[in-house]
């Protein structure tokens, strides 16, 4: 019979054994690179440093300073802001609207509607981009054809600096709204039926029911969705990479795309690492603000 202390020690060691593979992977291939990237962002790490790390020199905050002075960075930041500030509300609105519709008891074949709204979510973005590039085609695309029926002049969606970003936003919303729709449906189903019955007895109409029962009861869900969607949209990359290469005239250049180009095309890795940390900072700030707002809302 083992003593209790020995027994406890034995349990610990088993626990560490079970943890070891995952923790080793996460520390070596996640935490270590995060720290390395932070260090790297204070150096002039470039293509000559890849072969021999000692070629990299410590440059302090020079990368960050250069970034803040680079108009291309501000362009990318503005574009990302545009994408986030227009795309996120649009996406959440579409998700909520779809969820309300699909969740309605008046609708037959609800699961079929839900499935078809959800389909774009599971598909590969690059493949979806192929389709949408064709849909946006200035001469043979479906959108310009439909607009032509109503006598609207054709638009060169992806070739015009004013329209390229809206075109990417529409595609991103189309691709992603089904995901949050599912979360909203879960939220809607958690609202007790008695609340609606009470509202009905009080003579509330449909809009008032939505405004004073549904919306407040969904506040927590909406808060969660807002954070995750914001974070996701801040990182947009594949859409401009495949559809526009950041063009025309850098009108769809995003932070992550700039980071990719600087880091993996021009091998200015120190500079690129600084960009990655600015992205991290933005995401952190957005998360904290949103959490603060939510707490405030709940009080």
């Amino acid at each position: 019979m083992k003593s209790l202390v020995a027994e406890e020690k034995y349990r610990w060691s088993t626990a560490y054994l079970f943890l070891a593979p995952a923790m080793a992977a996460i520390f070596v291939f996640f935490f270590l690179p995060v720290l390395a990237a932070l260090l790297m962002s204070f150096t002039d790490f470039d293509i000559y440093s890849i072969g021999n790390t000692s070629n990299a020199r410590f440059v302090g905050l020079a990368n960050y300073r250069n970034l803040l002075q680079n108009p291309l960075f501000w362009k990318a930041l503005r574009n990302t802001g545009y994408f986030v500030l227009v795309g996120v509300p649009l996406s959440i609105f579409a998700s909520m609207f779809a969820a309300l519709g699909v969740n309605s008891k008046r609708l037959h074949f609800r699961s079929l509607f839900r499935l078809s709204y959800f389909l774009p979510v599971v598909t590969t973005l690059v493949a979806v981009a192929v389709i949408w590039r064709y849909i946006y085609h200035p001469r043979f695309g479906l959108i310009n054809y439909l607009m032509g029926i109503f006598g609207i002049q054709p638009v060169d969606w992806l070739g015009n600096p004013h329209w390229a970003m809206p075109a990417l936003i529409i595609m991103a919303v189309w691709k992603g709204f089904g995901y949050n729709m599912i979360i909203f449906i879960a939220g809607l189903q958690n609202i007790p039926e008695t609340l609606y019955e009470a509202a009905h007895l009080d003579g509330a109409n449909r809009w008032q029911e939505f405004r004073y029962v549904t919306l407040p009861m969904l506040a927590q869900t909406t808060g969660f969705i807002t954070i995750t969607t914001l974070i996701g949209y801040c990182q947009f990359f594949a859409e401009p990479y495949v559809m526009t290469q950041g063009g025309p005239l850098n009108s769809t250049l995003s932070i992550v795309l700039l980071m990719y180009q600087e880091g993996f095309r021009y091998w200015r890795m120190g500079y690129s690492a600084a960009l990655a940390f600015i992205l991290f900072g933005i995401i952190l700030i957005v998360t904290l603000i949103q959490l603060r707002l939510q707490r405030h809302h709940e009080l």
Binding site: P21, I26, L32, L107, F140, Q235, F237
Partner: protein, 275 residues
């Protein structure tokens, strides 16, 4: 039903059906365009259903453009990531759920707060690291960052916590080792969450783009999305063939999703109540 209620119902269904058209039409157009003879896609007004169809683009993709290879690359990578990460995550999830050990809370908090760090931050050093290890242009280069996931550990831990301790205690009294308990009691009971997580991991790995784009520079190692993006540059005019490539890329994940959709939907809901 009175008149205005009927109007409202028609209006409601109208909007819902327009929504279905908006989400489904691009896919239908993709499939039908992929079956058109070369050049028919460049036609005004657009053709939705071609009079003559052909499989020539699929043939070209498989016989001349190496698509089978890309398909296998994607399949091998996505399957490996799924299997390995499922084992690693479930082991760690088990430890966090059912063991007491020094530093448990601190470690768990550290992992949770790390979830706010975007993966892009790790990519530059990770690339250099894997380059040094000779893993650029290999399957391992893609698999390694996906070996374990904090989110996966978290989901599994939550699920295993709901398995009663008495079950484990009873097995221990019968002389079962911890590994036996993990393999024969915990894993079978946690099957629903494992299927959900496997589905998420597989589809995520299949659809992943940025990391494979960075780590795979040799043509023969491309995954389907990387190959498709590359093809887009070279064959930008060849709409019909690009569409066939898209169908091949999307079809496997779509089939996997359609067969296991309830697990996938549940996974989203689980993720949404975690806060």
């Amino acid at each position: 039903m009175n008149y205005s209620a009927r109007i409202r119902k028609i209006f409601f269904y109208g909007i819902m059906i327009v929504g279905v058209l908006l989400t489904i039409l691009p896919f239908i157009w993709m499939i039908s365009t992929s079956l058109m003879p070369t050049g028919m896609a460049n036609h005004y007004p657009p053709v939705l259903f071609p009079k003559e169809t052909t499989f020539q683009h699929y043939r070209t993709l498989f016989t001349q453009l190496n698509v089978l290879r890309y398909f296998l690359n994607s399949l091998i990578i996505a399957t490996s990531v799924t299997v390995i990460s499922l084992v690693f995550n479930s082991m760690a999830g088990f430890a966090f759920a059912k063991f007491r050990f020094p530093g448990k809370q601190k470690l768990f908090k550290l992992l949770l707060s790390a979830m706010v760090i975007p993966a892009q931050v790790t990519m530059l050093p990770l690339f250099l690291m894997l380059n040094r290890m000779g893993l650029v242009n290999t399957y391992w280069g893609i698999i390694i960052p996906g070996l374990a996931s904090i989110y996966g550990i978290f989901l599994i831990r939550q699920y295993i916590m709901s398995i009663p301790d008495s079950l484990i205690e009873a097995a221990r009294i019968d002389g079962a080792t911890d590994f036996y308990i993990y393999w024969h009691i915990i894993l079978p009971l946690a099957k629903p969450i494992l299927v959900t997580l496997a589905l998420f991991t597989f589809m995520g790995a299949w659809n992943d783009f940025l990391w494979p784009l960075i780590i795979l520079t040799r043509d023969s190692m491309y995954t389907l999305p990387v190959a498709l993006a590359n093809l887009m540059g070279e064959h930008v005019q060849d709409t019909e063939m690009m569409m066939a490539g898209s169908v091949i890329t999307i079809l496997p994940v779509l089939i996997v999703f359609l067969t296991l959709q309830k697990y996938y939907i549940r996974g989203i809901m689980l993720g949404s109540v975690k806060e």
